[in-house]
Point group: C2
Chain length 180, copies 2
């Protein structure tokens, strides 16, 4: 009943599950993807449930989510009532899609909220504290802007140049220094 190849897959699946959890997804997503990735033939939901000792419900929602992220897809086997599933194998495709949809959207939303905070600060009476707060808020907004730029070029070119963060910082520092 115990197949060394299945056991080995479970160890790998748990490890990748932890990576995926570290990135803010459910561990189950990593486990299911890994089992599919290690298999040379598409698996049915029932087989996945059996191997990972998951309930049918959990497998269903997990497969749905994997498909929405484009990291697993359904395949149809002629003459079979069941659906089968296989893993996306192109690491770069998976990474860039997730970064594009998740991180870029995050940077966008955060920037909007920081700009809102900046507006609020302008409603306060002029004071040296107000100028300090608005100065720092501007730095945070710049940070979000740079992050958006880095994410965009990362998705396009597969390179991320964080030296821009360094530039942002020294630029901010110059402004502070000049003021003294």
């Amino acid at each position: 009943m115990s197949d060394p190849l299945h056991d080995s897959a479970l160890v790998a699946a748990d490890a990748i599950g932890d990576v995926i959890e570290h990135w803010g997804f459910r561990k189950a997503l990593g486990r299911v993807w890994t089992v599919l990735y290690l298999e040379d033939v598409p698996l049915s939901a029932a087989e996945i449930a059996e191997r990972l000792s998951m309930s049918a419900g959990a497998v269903s929602t997990t497969l749905g989510e994997l498909q929405r992220w484009g990291v697993a897809k359904r395949v149809w086997k002629p003459g079979q009532r069941k659906e089968f599933y296989e893993a996306e194998t192109d690491f770069w495709k998976m990474i860039s899609r997730v970064v594009n949809e998740r991180e870029r959207a995050l940077a966008q939303r955060i920037r909007a909220r920081l700009e809102e905070a900046t507006e609020m600060a302008y409603d306060a009476p002029r004071s040296s504290r107000r100028s300090h707060v608005t100065e720092r808020l501007k730095r945070l907004v710049s940070f979000a802007l740079v992050a958006q730029t880095v994410i965009d070029s990362f998705v396009v070119s597969q390179r991320a140049d964080f030296q821009k963060f360094g530039n942002l910082l020294s630029f901010a520092r110059e402004k502070v220094a000049r003021r003294r």
Copy 2:
């Protein structure tokens, strides 16, 4: 009682809290860091607790954690019994430290577990399934190795070149293609 500058700081703190939470830390870390960052003078734990409506206990553990990550530091004010705290303002310092300690350690551990899985697979009897599983496990291990390299060069040079992931993939593909 309601200070527009404080309200503005709360909006920003909540936004940055979400970023930090997205990266797998507690939201409170981001909120406290932001309040300190927007302030031009170090704050006491009690002041932070008041502004963010947090309990003294939560503020204490949060400040401890911020210090362990090197993103806040204690400052001593002569003649004051209390300790005061201020935020690290160098974004790059903070990012590189977190990446260095968290992501690099993660890649290390995951690689070890994937290698363990590979060992287990070798214990299975020879078969085409076994060679498929070991082939895919090797790709995962290579992925972890490349990730470690990318992280290292990122920390040193502030650049991350993910084209290596692309190389890894096509290399793996060639091996598969040649076998047919």
